[in-house]
């Protein structure tokens, strides 16, 4: 009896320690972002700068959405500082462009990259090892290194100022191919052999067997690919003009480079830019939990 109680006590102690650690880490990871959001809600630019170093930065004197939607009741609502992000630029258009470009890239990327990885992981053929090593080697080519020849290339294709110029070159990605590859090589051979005996085609095995088992990796890659594409700045800057096809990071730069610098507006822009990714993550995150344990692999 006493032993049981002490065991229970140990468990509670464990839990307390666990939560303490969790909370401490959460503070570390969240405070800069809370800082960003609370600053964005502070309508008083002077108050922001005065309190930037103190805990009070988290507590704006007044809370308002002025930095987001502007202040129509201001003395002069057309003044830049009273316009808010929405009033200062066509934010909706940039948001649409970003969402559209990134969604297309990620969806096409999931298909193309996982197929290539599947082909490399589940077949043995001559030159496979070379291909795998080659793809690993490609991971290290930084984009900045190929940007100039690539610009020349897409210009010859007549793709400047378009959506496809921001989508097609970024579908296939060695990073994600390698991630899928690492995942697919762990499947037991028996899985596809059974299906083959049943007369299923390889594509069916990929589509009906491999992919459904790959939800965690699909979700991870989707998120990672989304993030990379979402923050892409240099390329759209080089290949697009005007707001028609431009994504958010370029708009952010446009915004940041305007003086006088309005930290409230900048933080509001930053917060709005972060929200869609957060939504996506919350939607996808249950798949990370969806245990593969129950599926009988490994």
């Amino acid at each position: 009896m006493a032993q049981q109680r002490s065991l229970k006590r140990v468990k509670i102690f464990d839990k307390v320690i666990g939560y303490f650690l969790l909370t401490l880490l959460a503070l570390f990871f969240l405070f800069p972002l809370v800082y960003m959001v609370s600053t964005s809600l502070n309508p008083d630019e002077r108050d922001i700068v005065n309190k930037m170093g103190s805990v009070m930065a988290f507590v704006p004197k007044n809370i308002s959405l002025k930095n987001y939607i502007g202040d129509p009741d201001a003395e002069d609502p057309t003044k830049t500082e009273n316009q808010g992000v929405i009033g200062r630029m066509n934010f909706g258009r940039f948001m649409f462009n970003s969402v559209f470009i990134v969604s297309c890239t990620v969806l096409a990327g999931l298909l193309v990259n996982s197929m290539l990885a599947f082909g490399l992981a589940r077949f043995s053929f001559k030159g496979r090892e070379v291909l795998v090593s080659g793809i690993v080697a490609l991971m290290i080519i930084p984009f900045e290194a190929i940007a100039i020849p690539l610009l020349w290339l897409v210009n010859n294709l007549g793709w400047l100022d378009s959506y496809q110029v921001q989508i097609i070159p970024f579908i296939a990605n060695p990073f994600y191919i390698f991630l899928f590859y690492q995942f697919f090589i762990q499947f037991p051979k028996a899985l596809e052999e059974a299906a083959l005996i049943d007369g299923a085609s390889w594509f069916k095995i990929y589509w009906k067997v491999a992919l459904p088992l790959s939800k965690p990796i699909l979700s991870s890659v989707a998120i990672l690919h989304f993030l990379m594409q979402w923050g892409f700045f240099l390329w759209p800057l080089m290949v697009t003009r005007g707001e028609e096809y431009r994504p958010l990071p370029v708009a952010m730069q446009q915004f940041f480079g305007q003086y006088p610098r309005d930290w409230g507006d900048i933080m509001a822009f930053a917060s709005m830019m972060t929200i869609p990714v957060l939504v996506l993550f919350v939607i996808l995150q249950r798949h990370f939990v969806n245990s593969v344990k129950s599926s009988g692999i490994k």
Partner: protein, 424 residues
């Protein structure tokens, strides 16, 4: 000349009748709000007042404007009319993607433009770029603080502070309880600002960005003893606590925590709103010897201006818009909005800010007496990049001589790499 002009006009009319409206693209940098609004308004009015030319204006972020222009030039995708930061003109002209404008310019226009506008726009004997305004660089001050600290307020180029007076003023202002850092060097910005705002310091000390006799080397000029002295002096402003190395914004003067702001004309409207009658414009101090190269005192000049690209199909249509915004009354609209020096004498005369006794008249006097143009050479993009880098490093406290030596090495490498940028 007139004949040619007439011929051109006829050809143009014919082509325009045949093709109805000509559409031209225009790129401009997203600078300060007031500037953008005026230009957008000018485009709308220009498009409405005639139907030969339709201007399609596209705004690009300022931070990487030069990179975007280069990417577009590489892809043969430049617009007809291009907004460009003055000193980059030479590189663009050398690389052959903007064209001379002389053939379009009337004598009357040429004579009416400020000499500094012509100077910044001319390369190899031809005019490649024209601006609707020029810049002014001096010190904005808070009169109340200056009086309280007992500092003399100079009003003209000739009675400007000497270096000793300036340092003394800073020490006195620093002692005021309201003031955190007396001088704001606008260090929140970097890049072209460093070259525009601080190369006059080097020139006042007797140094320069490049040897202007040959334009072939910066050695001995940007890393000579005068340059090192200038760098050390700048660093001392930080060390003595006169300047905040890492300000969070550019508003120290406006919100009363600073007493002086070393910045350009664009600061005027905001400063006037914040300080009202306490706002005073102070000439650039005499930092160096009177018998040094630039007489011990210097300021900047040159600003954003317009060029017509060589791949434009309708250069004359582009010129028509440029001519429109160069009208004195249009220039005035822009100048009133951004506080800049109007680019034509006729506009200066009409300007409340710049006419005799106007609030910004000092800029005209400075432009006349102590303005130094940034080097007119195709190597400018590299010069400014290296100078800006050197300034940032010096302010961080690196070895001044070493830092400048490296800038010189990089600049000389670039010139050598291009065989001295021969024109043909």
């Amino acid at each position: 000349m007139k004949k040619l002009f007439f011929l051109l006009l006829m050809v143009l009319t014919v082509t325009m009748v045949l093709s109805a409206t000509v559409e031209i693209d225009l790129w401009f940098h997203s600078g300060r709000g007031a500037e953008r609004n005026v230009l957008q308004d000018q485009v709308v009015r220009f498009n409405a007042m005639q139907d030969l030319v339709f201007v399609n204006a596209i705004q690009l972020p300022e931070g990487s404007y030069n990179e975007q222009v280069q990417a577009a030039a590489l892809a043969n995708d430049l617009p007809d009319l291009l907004d460009l930061d003055g000193p980059n003109m030479t590189n663009y002209a050398w690389a052959n993607f903007i064209m001379p404008l002389d053939k379009y310019m009337s004598v009357e226009l040429k004579n009416d433009l400020l000499p500094s506008i012509i100077k910044q726009g001319t390369y190899n004997g031809k005019i490649y770029a024209l601006g609707t305004f020029d810049s002014g660089l001096a010190i904005w001050g808070n009169k109340a603080y200056l009086k309280k600290a007992g500092v003399r307020i100079p009003t003209s180029v000739d009675d400007a502070w000497t270096k000793e007076e300036f340092m003394d003023a800073l020490a006195k202002l620093k002692a005021l309880p309201e003031v955190d850092y007396p001088l704001d060097l606008m260090l929140i910005e970097s890049g072209e600002w460093d070259t525009y705002g601080f190369s006059p310091i080097f020139q006042a000390f007797g140094a320069d960005l490049i040897n202007r006799e040959t334009y072939m080397t910066a050695d001995g000029v940007l890393n000579g003893p005068e340059a090192v002295e200038a760098g050390k002096w700048m660093r001392s402003l930080i060390e003595k606590g006169y300047v905040n190395r890492s300000p969070a914004n550019d508003a120290a003067l406006l919100d009363g925590t600073g007493a002086l702001a070393w910045t350009g004309h664009w600061y005027y409207n905001n400063a006037k709103d914040a300080l009202g009658d306490d706002l005073v414009l102070i000439p650039m101090p005499k930092l160096g010897d009177e018998d040094s190269k630039y007489g011990g005192q210097a300021t900047g000049m040159g600003s954003w201006c317009w060029g017509i690209t060589t791949n434009s199909d309708h250069p004359y249509a582009a010129w028509l818009f440029l001519r429109f915004i160069l009208r004195p009354e249009e220039i005035l609209l822009m100048s009133n909005a951004n506080g800049a020096v109007p680019s034509r004498f006729s506009a200066v005369a009409m300007s409340d800010l710049y006419k005799e006794g106007g609030a910004l008249e000092l800029y005209v006097e400075q432009a006349d007496k102590i303005a130094v143009e940034r080097p007119v050479t195709p190597a400018y993009p590299v010069i400014t990049l290296e100078f800006s880098r050197a300034i940032q490093e010096i302010l961080n406290g690196t070895d001044v001589q070493k830092t400048l030596d490296r800038a010189v090495e990089e600049i000389d490498w670039d010139i050598e790499d291009n065989n001295g940028y021969p024109m043909d």
